[in-house]
Every structure is written in structure tokens, then in C-alpha cells.
Symmetry: C2
Subunit: 479 residues, 2 copies
């Protein structure tokens, strides 16, 4: 666990990440290439993400459902751009119950097609609309280059799917869900994100418009952390999802889909983590506080553990997720390092001297060394920890935002763009042509991440071709 040191981020960011995921026991490699096992600590983090999102989905009227994982292969082929996008990535079941299947089945890479098929049965009239659904599941996409959490053959996510009577409603839904992802990222994960619109080259296979939230990782690269798609009538037409309107006319529905996956865990690691390991945002951390007892003699042990257990009970009662590290055979210093590596926001150190003073030492994970330590009276512990968690939550967001600002350049020229994407984002004018976008990608390995929703009214000339720009866009190398 904490015995071997991580490489520093400056030495090798990618290797720092890979080793940290394993060391912190977030996940491990599965026997099938490109698949992962999410271990208890990683899954507890995902459950907190799930709850934070699910609460928001339900508050906006969405209901959870479960569509099956097996989809007839022919379904994928009904929507033209969908099949082009997903065909190369499919896992295909050809044998079931010992017999060759007459029609091969695919494991869902996403569920628009099977949901479209069922909606065509369920939706009859305008009275049935809107349909607002979400499901928590896993999907499979046969990726070649994989990395734990960031890109795995099977990954966990939620996929929301909605059907509406009008284009306007569907567009509003698409934007509402993007706002919900933004709110979650900023307020729960302490990750500043740029909500924006994808280029045609980067949009979802089958979407009319794709929006995403883009975050900057600790190495200056971008990570698409959630997407919301306006699907127009593409899937409604492919699957005959129609309703009788108030005038008795048959109309195609307008649909949306939106998803956020376990790759978000990768974002949390790479945005907040430091050379000591994970730094978890308090609102999502599996453990918000860890109590490390310090003692030498049996007498000290009895006294310290007595107080420590009372502390834990008090914190748990105040709904602070708390662990008391009573492991035998490990020194306090080793435990400090171990919990630091696992990113627990607040460490509570309690030794015989603290017990005598009826006090404890609080150490905040986001500030190393003495600077992050304060002494607090035992009677004041709970409110002090509550305040500290709140401070840390805010400080993490501020630090990440400052980092992103320091690593984002308004690129006036193509050379400036090239320089900027070496270690951050370039914000640059773009003419809107796929050719310029492709050339930039080819020459700089940076992709157009999005056209930010804010500040779309500026005017300028394309950083690549010099023609009038349609918008300012964010370019970056990306995960």
C-alpha cells in the first residue's frame, strides 16, 4: 500500500496515475484485456457520485429504468451515423445456451436503439410525453488503447433518455442536463468545467448537437467529463417513435440522451491529486475524516482508543463519514502516509498528550505539513470538522480553477495555439470548418474540445486559416 513511493506527477504523470489507481485500491486490471475491477474504495466513490447525480435527476422528474444489455445487431444498423460510429466497437454474442444464434446480439454500447424500439410501443399520444428516463448500468465498447477508469472496454455510467413533443422542449432538456452536470462537477466534485458545444467531428454518433463539460487535468490535458446530446428526430425516425398530437396528427418525437461515466473518477484523481496521492473532494469522499490513534504503552492505548471511539461516534452521528484506524502493526507515520495516499480530506491525530489536554490535531489533506494542522478541543471537534470539510471543498475548487486559468491562453496566432496546448488549453477563434479542425489536430495533437456557451458573441479570425471566425473554441490535447 503505502510502502512503495509513487513517481511524481512531474516525472511521469501517466505512470503516477496508473500506480495511484492500483495503490489506493480504487481499481485493478481484470483478466480480460481492457476490463477493470472496481474495488470497494473506488466503488464507494462511485456510489457517492451516483447519489449526487440521481438526486438531481429525480428532482427534475426523471425516473430510473432498466433496459436489457442484449440488443439485436440489426437495431444498431437502423440509424446511419450510429452504426458508423459504433460498429467497430461492438462485442457480439453469437452463442446462447449452447447453440448458434440465428441473429447475433450485441452487448449495448449505449441504449438509444433498444429504447427507441420500446418507446415506439409505449408512446401513443401527446399525453404520454415527455418521457424522462435514466438508467445506471455498464456498457461495452471494444477500445484498443485502454486505461483504468478513463477508457475501458466495459465502463459504468448513467444514460438518460428522454422523448418530447417539440424540438424546443428537447433542446431545453439537453441544456438542463448539461447544467446539472456542470452543477455537480463544480459543487460536488470541486472541478471547474467548461460547458460547451462539440464540433460535428466530435459529436455523438447519431446526435444533431452534442454538448459536453470539459475539465483540465493536472497535466494541462482536457477530459470530457459528461455529455448531453440533442438527437433531433434521428432515432425517432429510425424507430418510428411517434405520437398523436392535440390535432390528431401523427408526429415524430424529439429525443435526447446524456451520460456521465466512471471516467469522472479519473477526472477527480487527475484534477485534485498530488505527489502524495489522491485528494478527494469532501462531498464525494468515501471517508471524510480518519482518526489515527497514537500510543506506545498499553495504558496509553486504552486511554487514546477510548477517546477516539467516542470521537468517531460523535462524528458519525453528525453524518460525517469517519473511519478510525485501529490496525495493529503499523506505525502512526505509516498510517498518515496511507490515508494521505487515499486522499481522505481530514486526518484527526490523537495521542496521549492530546487526550490529557482534551484536544486533537486536525490535518487537512489539501495543505501539506504544519501549515495544514490545527489543534482543536474535543468538545469543538464536530463543528470544527464540518467547517474544515467545507473549507477544503471550496479550496479545492479555487485551486483547480486557478490552475486552469494559469494554463489557458487566448491564442491570437497558430503558434500561440501550438505553445498553449503543450501544457494547457488554447482559447482561439475558429472558422467552423472541419478542415481547419482536422489540420490543427493533425499538426498539434489538440482537438477542438468545445465552443464554450459563454462568450459566443466575440468576433475574430480563424487561428488556422485567417477567415472570419464563427466562434471562439477551446483546443487541447485530451484523454
Amino acid at each position: 500500500m503505502a510502502d512503495e513511493k509513487l513517481p511524481t506527477r512531474a516525472q511521469d504523470f501517466s505512470e503516477w496515475y496508473n500506480q495511484l489507481v492500483l495503490k489506493a485500491q480504487l481499481a485493478d486490471y481484470a483478466p480480460v484485456r481492457g476490463c477493470m475491477v472496481v474495488r470497494p474504495y473506488g466503488w464507494a466513490l462511485w456510489e457517492n457520485i451516483q447519489q449526487a447525480l440521481d438526486r438531481r435527476f429525480k428532482a427534475t422528474g426523471h425516473q430510473n429504468v432498466a433496459f436489457p444489455m442484449l440488443i439485436p445487431k440489426s437495431f444498431i444498423e437502423k440509424e446511419k451515423s450510429h452504426v458508423e460510429g459504433f460498429s467497430p466497437e461492438l462485442a457480439v454474442v453469437t452463442i446462447g445456451g449452447g447453440e448458434e444464434l440465428t441473429e447475433p446480439l450485441v452487448i449495448r454500447p449505449t441504449s438509444e436503439t433498444i429504447i427507441g424500439h420500446m418507446w415506439s410501443k409505449w408512446i401513443q399520444s401527446y399525453r404520454d410525453l415527455p418521457v424522462l428516463m435514466n438508467q445506471w448500468n455498464s456498457v461495452i465498447r471494444w477500445e484498443l488503447r485502454t486505461k483504468l477508469f478513463l477508457r475501458t472496454l466495459e465502463f459504468y455510467w448513467q444514460e438518460g433518455h428522454t422523448a418530447h413533443a417539440t424540438r424546443e422542449e428537447a433542446e431545453a432538456e439537453t441544456r438542463q442536463m448539461l447544467d446539472i452536470y456542470t452543477d455537480f462537477a463544480v459543487n460536488d466534485a470541486a472541478i471547474p468545467v467548461i460547458p460547451g458545444k462539440k464540433s460535428d467531428a466530435e459529436k455523438f454518433a447519431g446526435a444533431q448537437t452534442t454538448y459536453s463539460i470539459e475539465a483540465m487535468m493536472g497535466d494541462g490535458k482536457a477530459l470530457q467529463a459528461g455529455t448531453s446530446h440533442f438527437l433531433g428526430q434521428n432515432f425517432a425516425q429510425a424507430f418510428e417513435v411517434r405520437y398523436l398530437d392535440q390535432n390528431g396528427q401523427l408526429q415524430h418525437c424529439w429525443t435526447t440522451s446524456w451520460g456521465l461515466s466512471t471516467r469522472f473518477i479519473g477526472a477527480i484523481i487527475m484534477v485534485h491529486g498530488d505527489d502524495q496521492g489522491l485528494v478527494l473532494p469532501p462531498k464525494l469522499a468515501p471517508y471524510q475524516a480518519v482518526i489515527v490513534p497514537i500510543y506506545k504503552t498499553d495504558e496509553e492505548k486504552a486511554a487514546v482508543l477510548g477517546v477516539a471511539r467516542q470521537m468517531k461516534a460523535g462524528l458519525v452521528q453528525a453524518e460525517i463519514r469517519t473511519v478510525l484506524d485501529e490496525r495493529e502493526g503499523f506505525s502512526p507515520g505509516w498510517k498518515f502516509n496511507d490515508w494521505e495516499m487515499r486522499g481522505v480530506p481530514v486526518r484527526i491525530e490523537l495521542g496521549p498528550k492530546d487526550v490529557a489536554k482534551q484536544a486533537a490535531v486536525l490535518a487537512r489533506r489539501d495543505r501539506p505539513g504544519r501549515e495544514g494542522k490545527t489543534s482543536v478541543a474535543v468538545v469543538e471537534l464536530v463543528p470544527a470538522v464540518v467547517r474544515l470539510l467545507d473549507d477544503i471543498q471550496k479550496a479545492l475548487h479555487e485551486r483547480a480553477l486557478a490552475f486552469r486559468q494559469a494554463h489557458t491562453r487566448q491564442a491570437q496566432s497558430y503558434d500561440e495555439l501550438k505553445g498553449a496546448v503543450e501544457n494547457g488549453f488554447a482559447s482561439a477563434f475558429w472558422c467552423g470548418s472541419a478542415d481547419c479542425e482536422a489540420a490543427i489536430k493533425e499538426e498539434t495533437r489538440a482537438t477542438m474540445r468545445c465552443i464554450p456557451l459563454e462568450g459566443q458573441t466575440e468576433q475574430g479570425i480563424c487561428v488556422k486559416c485567417g477567415k472570419p471566425a464563427v466562434a471562439r473554441a477551446i483546443f487541447a490535447r485530451a484523454y
Copy 2:
């Protein structure tokens, strides 16, 4: 929805069930044979089941994880009885990313094998034990005869997996989880169950001992509603799951697994449902109370809806899951039938006269007609609903228990057993031989459900062969 009448249970229990699942919009048939779509109302019920169980799992120290759905086919073949049991039921992926796979992969039918493989990496020392894991997921078993919720190719469940240093600890875990299932069934689902031990013929493929909880459905048939397996060292040996004990000796672990699936929803339907439709136990019902407003004029509507919305707010604040049916174009009577069919425990009727009296009518779902109705003052509504939900929860359990008792016979002879299993359970002495068990199954279509954990000390002679009995067992036809 409520427009076509269900067949009565007496007319055709099986068809009553099939139609009710569709009408209540719990689930629907998927395009792939034998798969189902769980619709919002069904999934909300499953989420409540999940929470009720997950709380208990966590309180007993279990942690959730996610092992991948794809397993190398060779893994399944490592444990002898496991492969015999599951090989005929596998879904096999032979193509991934457009290419034939060198080793075929199976979609998990259950996860003992892949978990064993990972444990062999993670578990080193007695300090790492016990390992207490659970996962919520879906699995696939290629069944031939399927029925919504009861037997589907893909089904949703939780599968718990634990590893221990000693046989005693693993056996205690197996029994603890059986107790948790029993407690959940009785106290949350209001379903009386018989916890007991399975015969060798009926046990899990790879288990040393299988325990189950068995429930009686409304037609007298049995349904296995949850299972807990003591796996001995079978999987630990097949996958080399070993630990260094305190003396530095390498030992194989002792493991368990236990599961409860969406078939439990089938049990809830068939235990409590009546000819009008579902009757949901209050603790698990997606909606515990429905408010149906009654009005004719616009003036009445305004007055009634005003009070109804206040009522809903008060109930929701008291954490009672409440829906206010404001749908236009449906009569109150139609709404009564619709919500009755959907099994909402308490209906609150509110018309202009009630508003004038500052009262409302409460109708309990488990008692039809006038007998189940009471009037309550609006100011007393919340405590009255809380009490009523509690009453209904208890009454449902009592009714189901009385039904089971009325349909269970102590069969002294084989003829009595034959008679008993026509519409219920036979409790009969059994010599322990697989031959007698097989003959009974062949001749009566009743299987040995379990040897109940209670009352194992009685003595008698086998109902089939007349030899000395090893135990009293429950025989029944089963789903």
C-alpha cells in the same frame, strides 16, 4: 391501463400474473426472447428493495464492488460442478471490435470464478481476511422457459461473496446472510418465509451447502426467494485463493456467496396481489399514498386541488412517498381502479364535501370496499396515514402467514403429500436419499424445497420409502 379487466386468480393464476405485470407497467417484454425491460414503476420497487438490503449488508461490514461482466470461458471450467451447472446456460461473446476472439468470453452467469481469480491476487495473509463483498448487477443465464421477473435470460440481483480464514466463520456468514434475507422478507416485504437447507439435488453448482428462503405464492406454489451458499474450499482450491496464517502456513480460504434477485418482485406480486391487481407492502411501495381529487366545477377543482397540494406537501415532508393524481380526462372512479391495480397501500379521496368538513377519506388497499374506508380530519392526516401504513404492513404479513398455514399439511403418508402439493406445501419426513426425492418429483411434480432450520429434531419415517427419516422437509411445486 385500468381499462381491460384482469382474469381472476382463480380463473388463471398464471395469466393473471402475466397481464398484471404488463398492466401495472412493472415490466415489458424486450425484443430479445426471454429478456425484459423493467419500467419505472418496477424499477422504483427494485430500488426500494435494494436500499432495504444494502443497508443491512453495510451494517454487517460488507462493501460494494464491481467485477466485470465478461469472463474468460476457461474460468467457468475450473470448478467441476460449477461448469456442469452453468455450461448449458451461457451466452458467449466470440467477436469483439470486429475480430474473432482467440478465447471466447462468457457473460457472467454468476461471479464466483472471476472473483476467485482476483482474490488469489489480493489475499495474502490472515490480516486480509475476512473479505466481505457484494455487487448489484445483472447476469445472464440462457433459460428456455421464461416469465417476467421469475425467470428471464438477464436478471438483476445482488451477489455477495466473502472469504474467511476458517470453516466456522464462513458457515456463520452463510447463516447470517440467510437471516438477513429472512428479516428483509418478513419485515420489509411482509412475506413469511421458511429458511432452510437445500438437498444436494437442488443446491448451487459448486456449493457445499445451499440455504434458501422459501415463500408460498397465492396459488400455493413455492418460490425460492433468496439463497445463501457455503462454498467450502471448492472455489478457493480451483482458483488458488490462499493466505498465510498466523503460524506462517499457507491455507486455502473458505468462501460463501449469496444472492437475491428481481424474482423477488414476482414473489411480492404473487403473495399479496388480489383480483384487482397489485397490493404492495408499504415499506417497499414506490408510492405509499395516492391523493385522488374529486370535483365537477372549476370552483370545486380549485378548492379541492388547493387542499390536496397542501396535503401532499405535508405527507412528503413526513417522508411518506405520495403522489397526487392531477391527470385530466379521467374520472375519479377510473383513477381509483388504476391505483388499486398498481397496489398503492393508501388512497386519500378528497372531494368538495370533504374540503368543507376539513376532512378526507382514507381507503386501505388491503381491504376492499367500505370496510377499508375511514374519514380523517385534515389536521390528523399525517399521523393517521403513518398508523395506517403500519397497520397494512402488519396485516399483509398476517394474511400471508395465515394463507400459508391454511395451505400447509403435515403429510403422514405419500397420498397425503400428493394431495397437499395440489394447492400448497407438504411437510413430510424424508430419508435423505436422492432416489426418493427424484421419485417424488417425477410422480408429483413437487420438489424438495428445503429442510427447515426449525424443528430438525423430530423423528419419523420417510413418506416415500418408509425408512427412518433424517429430517422433516417441505415439498411443493415451485416456480
